[in-house]
Subunit: 303 residues, 2 copies
């Protein structure tokens, strides 16, 4: 069933991206928002992102027998949090990036003050979206389940997860770090929200503990693979496809898998994490196929 | 009952501040947090703040017959959100403040990157705190009630509230603004979280709609009074007591109540909002006394 899935993958991702774009249009606040923040938020959210986190959330929901529509608010909240993290990461005081996906970064267009506020706004609106029953289809789910999702996502975005990982990254420099440090940075910085994406997709439909545990394993491995693939693309990627300069990590002397292990070993690690992600899905039926295909896509992506 | 309450006020505020400090020590994440973020977060949270929002939350809880201990996680989450907003507001790209309460601001001590992340972390940890039952005493309350509190607080902190107000403030400049604009900025920037503080305190104990509505009125008026008092202190305050330079608003040509209306009228407005706040408590019994006393304190505070 997993052979010759290139055509399936392309159609699947395009379809899912379209669904996410439409849902984001629907869920993003449009009332009562100062025009420049509105512009900055929309500029950053609708910039051609791959929507990996929402797509993973939906795929996990389907893998446990859920429907797409019910997963949408959670999927979109994840994308709002991801977008906030990119806006803040790009700031001059952080990575100081001028371009993302071929377009000027938020602070280059709107100024640093608006970019900081747009990021703050997106993070906060994610929790508005997750908690406001009347606006979203989650109203059909119990308050307990929605609270569990907020728990999972806030923890993953916070000090134990994404923010903590970003802080470790900022503080790590390149001196004396080893693979354990690097893995810990990426487990938190990239991995935690990916784990939250698949787990919360499964939470919505009250999946059993074994399924949730398997999805967490999948997410942990996929998150690490995702970061290694990113590091590799930063060295070998096509500038045109990436929409940004390659080689920036090396220029910054940034700690990456290729710089630490060498390119060959980094590619081996990537393949190994992808295999582990796929293996963790052994207990699922064919409804988990998209999760398998996404894992393969992470390994082979060009941008 | 409200005469000669200076002694009561002092003892009450000191007692409540102590309770909040201890609770914050308990609730702030200590595990798994990069040391420099830990320091930056604690530096900013424990910097001698007046803890007005948590104290209001507790006072509202008591006014509707609730107990203090149960209100603590919510009270502390409000203070984490308030602290994040101060860290980000002080950044060079925003208000560019070097001092707060007599101490160097977070970014002056830890750098801009860590200050941005510390703010992001505090905002996120507020939602971790509000949603994680096992850690906090809120576990005794229904998931519905906790979800309602997250709704209220996330909305107040977001685009419809604090972040939106800060954006309006950043964008307003001083040109052609009128009192309606100024009120709208402060209703959101300062007022929304104060309203959320009293409402969520009452939510915990399932207060009736009329009580919640009255507390919202109190909060709206108190929030505006709070901001006018701040503006007045920025002109007339004692530099020593304030722990920062006075006159900074005027130097920045910032839109304030005294600059817009003149000092005399600004003081009249302040008194009128305080009266309105107190009047909205007419339907409460003596358990609302602290809310009355806090309103008087807001008018008369010196720092």
């Amino acid at each position: 069933m997993f052979e010759n899935d290139d055509g399936f993958l392309k159609a699947y991702l395009e379809d899912r991206q379209k669904i996410v774009e439409e849902a984001l249009q629907h869920y993003l606040p449009a009332d009562d928002i100062p025009p420049k923040i509105y512009e900055a938020v929309r500029y950053s959210v609708f910039n051609g992102g791959k929507r990996i986190r929402p797509i993973l959330c939906m795929a996990a929901a389907e893998a446990v027998g859920g429907d797409l529509a019910s997963a949408m608010p959670v999927a979109c909240a994840l994308e709002l949090i991801h977008t906030y993290s990119l806006i803040h990461d790009d700031l001059p005081a952080m990575d100081d990036d001028d371009f993302r996906r071929g377009k000027s970064t938020c602070h280059k267009v709107f100024g640093e003050d608006i970019a900081i506020l747009a990021g703050d706004a997106l993070l906060t609106e994610a929790f508005v979206l997750l908690s406001r029953a009347e606006k979203v289809r989650l109203s059909g789910f119990s308050a307990e389940r929605r609270l569990a999702i907020i728990q999972e996502i806030s923890y993953a975005a916070g000090i134990g997860g994404m923010v903590g990982g970003q802080a470790l990254d900022v503080l790590s420099g390149n001196s004396g770090a080893d693979e354990n440090t690097l893995r810990e940075i990426h487990r938190r910085k990239t991995g935690a929200l990916i784990v939250a994406a698949v787990k919360s997709g499964a939470f919505i439909f009250n999946a059993g503990k074994d399924k949730i545990q398997a999805l967490a394993e999948y997410g942990i491995n996929l998150g690490l693979a995702f970061q290694i693939a990113d590091d590799i693309l930063n060295v070998e990627g096509d500038r045109e496809l990436m929409g940004k300069e390659t080689g920036s990590d090396a220029a910054r002397n940034k700690l990456t898998y290729p710089s630490l292990l060498g390119m060959e070993l980094a590619k081996e690690k990537l393949a190994r994490y992808i295999d582990a992600a796929v293996a963790s899905l052994a207990g699922f039926d064919e409804r988990a196929m998209p999760l398998v295909v996404i894992a393969r896509y992470i390994m082979e992506r060009k941008s």
